[in-house]
């Protein structure tokens, strides 16, 4: 089964918190994704809606001076893992979430191998992008690699 893993970081990853963030996001990108959805932009850019008072963004265009009062931005150094190929199969070993319900465009926050991660659910054949707290990054990557390399389920599936 073909699965590739790659670990990286996102230079402009930022969490926005505060009031009237929809307005800010609108001015940055021209639209606002629905709750727990994301929109993709070029150069790994994206903007994800985590609720009326929170957005996770990776946009080179964003600058702190665009913030109004009661708006806060905090840099994020998440470890970002890209999984290409049959990522759903790999996830079935480490994540209880039923990915049958995950649709492209969804921003999913879920536990993977005991660590909280976020994911950008991609189109069918595209690469999954997931991020986690940087201090868990080495553990998560190591764990996923190990599962990928050793699991009989990834080689044979559940069917005999």
């Amino acid at each position: 089964m073909s699965i590739q893993l790659q670990s990286s970081s996102l230079e402009h990853l930022t969490v926005l918190r505060g009031k009237n963030l929809s307005g800010l996001v609108q001015s940055l990108t021209g639209s606002v994704p629905a709750l727990f959805h994301y929109q993709k932009f070029e150069n790994r850019g994206f903007i994800a809606n985590l609720g009326s008072e929170e957005f996770l963004i990776n946009l080179a265009d964003f600058h702190r001076d665009q913030l109004e009062s009661d708006q806060y931005a905090f840099q994020r150094g998440d470890v970002v893992i890209s999984i290409s190929g049959q990522w759903r199969e790999l996830m079935s070993e480490v994540c209880i979430y039923d990915f049958r319900q995950a649709c492209p465009g969804e921003f999913l926050m879920v536990l993977v191998a005991g660590v909280s991660v976020w994911m950008l659910i991609p189109e069918a054949t595209e690469t999954l992008v997931m991020g986690c707290d940087p201090t868990y990054g080495h553990y998560l990557f190591k764990t996923l690699e190990h599962q990928k390399n050793t699991s009989p389920f990834l080689n044979h599936g559940v069917q005999k």
């Binding site: 709750l35 727990f36 985590l50 209880i96 979430y97 039923d98 319900q101 926050m109 879920v110 536990l111 909280s116 991660v117 976020w118």
Partner: protein, 89 residues
């Protein structure tokens, strides 16, 4: 192992949640008697019943209210814990 339908985050496994205890109404600190306070802190009727509980969803950091039957473990109602909700009604 259970799945719970949690608007707005969908059908989620209970293993993603942390139990946060009963939803209780804290007495006013200014005028509370010692016995009322002790009752609030310690005492309750904890027989099997449907009770309203705090449950924390770890990946999103959201608090939910579950109305759960402590006899059958059936969760009858789920809602996002809205601000100030616990102090109402």
């Amino acid at each position: 192992m259970k799945f719970i339908d949690c608007p707005p985050i969908g059908r989620r496994a209970l293993s993603e949640f942390v139990y946060g205890g009963l939803v209780k109404h804290e007495p006013d600190h200014e005028n509370v008697s010692e016995s009322v306070w002790a009752e609030h802190v310690f005492y309750r009727h904890s027989h099997p019943q449907i009770q309203k509980e705090w449950w924390y969803h770890r990946p999103t950091g959201m608090w939910f209210f579950f109305e759960r039957d402590t006899l059958t473990d059936v969760i009858h109602h789920v809602s996002v814990a809205t601000k100030g909700y616990a102090n109402e009604a």
